[in-house]
Symmetry: C2
Subunit: 328 residues, 2 copies
DNA sequence: GCTGGCATTGAAAACGATTACATTTTTTCT
DNA sequence: AGAAAAAATGTAATCGTTTTCAATGCCAGC
């Protein structure tokens, strides 16, 4: 039996209402306040958050639903989200969906049952397209991936432009037969593919694209196959950090020279990209900024539910490294 | 206003008790059960977890307190913990302490207020030594770092042996002037240092050790300084993945040849260690196993609070790569 | 010495669920 | 068919808070 507010009241010789007021900075005389504080200290009392939430109808909790916390992009984002959230006195429930729509549905249901104030969500395409945001009962801020067209706030990278930027970078370095490897579960993969395809078309070149499950393993397998094919590309773009990692592993395995026989470029300036020779050319995403902006956006939405929807689009930054050195 | 169990009862024409029983698989006739289920579906009712927890006095929630979720070791462990937890119908609250004892205290307080069933905790040395586990009100399983001597369950790596194994590996490869860089906040750093020092002493060699804050940045700065010193070591051991990352960055920066002028070895088989030339020799920790074992241990403890304390000590696996090639 | 106003305080009603207990209905047995 | 046992259902208490509302005490003003 843990001690409750009633025990504290008894110990201090006051009513529970007074104890509650002391805890919540209500109007209480100095004398009683001191007695209550002594009783709290002596009894080691800890308020019960479930009871508090039930009574006050405010969870002061938000949900953060991402596809894989092992992806450095999401860990960084979630750290930023948490920092802002905790500063605002909110807790964060972190959930992994493994890009699985069933798990997404399950976690959304959980969020409803927790009566969270809001959710920050990196959804799969399947869920993003069909999600009934209005029926959820809490505001949603989409990150990394677009939500149902204009139905909720979002913080996104300018994926098309960034992908096109990579293509143009490679073209400028003399590469022509450029392939792209994209995740097949997210709108992000689709958008990056679109930017890639557009840029290739502008250059009058055919765009060879392949889609895989967004994991290093899948990317490694696909890249290995691709490298063995006739007419394998001279340069490869991977649409996120995990895919790039898989590609690099496949390349190493096959003993392919980078950039000699195959140039590489991708997304996410993960720490290894600088270290794996000859260094990976990548689009760096402003991860802290994404997390911070998403959380701030959610807080603003909670404060003023009727404000118009907003979409924050952030630019990526091209980090040039050895993997895309001029074709020799 | 969200719909409550009372609304469902009204809609279905039964008492709230019956609705509750339908939800909890209590004894209810098929006819009423159908009516209730229809009402639940129609109203979109979602049970309120706060109310449920308050009444049933069971949170079905555990806390996972780690020092830094950006450390791949902890992300992998937390994934494993979550998998086991969710399979057992428990939720996980994940907390980052940044190795800061104040934050640790704050989160432990939060865990009490959430009335969690138990906590899995990677504590700093300061907290581990002074923690009053009994007064917390819930069982604690320590991971990665030892808790107050024999006061709680723990899942640990055999740090001394692993560190000694690295030393002996380097000795076998012909290196003599071996330095060690260790984290200064955790007992893990201390234990790995102990294993390092013992092994060096057995070999009759002086052990040069330095301690830094457990971040890549701190390690990089310290390593840069060290490499500039007179009598810099021929080989360096870093006591975790982040420190090793910092060391490698410093080495690159300084243009030091690995292993030619400096051999490297460390802990944690993070994905980049395979990719950064010439590949890093590391002790691989069984991360999934650590998380799984910790969560299972906690579940068992919850089931039988009086069972004797247990300490699971897991062995690391030496992964030999180019960074410790025989001295030429 | 009242009266009105103000600041404290306490009693009691929520919040939304579960569950012990009482009551009703159904089944089973003679 | 009737009684006893078993099963289903409802009533109301309860979990630990916050908050409304009423009551109390104190002081100033007359």
């Amino acid at each position: 039996m843990t001690t409750s507010i009633k025990d504290v009241a008894l110990l201090a010789g006051v009513s529970v209402a007074t104890v509650s007021r002391v805890l919540g900075n209500g109007p209480v005389s100095a004398a009683l306040r001191a007695k209550v504080e002594a009783a709290v200290a002596q009894s080691g009392y800890r308020p019960n958050l479930s009871a508090r939430r039930l009574r006050s109808q405010a969870s002061r909790t938000i949900g953060l639903i991402v596809s894989d916390i092992r992806n450095p992009f999401f860990t960084s984002v979630s750290r930023a989200v948490e920092d802002v959230a905790y500063r605002a006195g909110m807790r964060v429930i972190l959930c992994n969906t493994d890009e699985n729509p069933d798990k997404e549905a399950m976690y959304l249901r959980l969020m409803q049952e927790e009566r969270v104030s809001g959710v920050i969500f990196a959804a799969t395409r399947a869920t993003a397209d069909s999600l009934d945001v209005a029926g959820l009962g809490f505001p949603v801020v989409m990150i990394d991936r677009a939500g149902p067209a204009a139905r909720c706030d979002a913080v996104l990278l300018d994926n098309r432009t960034a992908a096109a930027q990579l293509v143009e970078h490679l073209l400028g370095r003399g590469y022509r037969r450029i392939g792209g490897l994209f995740g097949n579960t997210s709108s992000t993969g689709a958008e990056r593919h679109a930017g890639f395809a557009e840029a290739m078309e502008r250059a009058g070149l055919p765009a060879a694209a392949r889609f895989v499950a967004p994991s290093a393993e899948a990317a490694q397998a696909e890249a290995a196959k691709w490298l063995g094919d006739a007419g394998a590309p001279e340069a490869l773009i991977a649409s996120n950090g995990l895919l790039l990692l898989g590609v690099v592993k496949a390349v190493r395995e096959a003993g392919v020279a980078v950039p000699g026989r195959l140039a590489l470029a991708g997304f996410d300036n993960d720490s290894w990209t600088e270290l794996a020779d000859p260094g990976m050319t990548v689009i760096e995403q402003p991860v802290d900024e994404i997390g911070r902006a998403a959380m701030e956006m959610l807080l603003e939405r909670l404060e003023r539910p009727e404000r118009p929807l907003r979409k924050v689009v952030l630019a990526g930054r091209l980090v040039e490294r050895g993997s895309s050195q001029p074709r020799g």
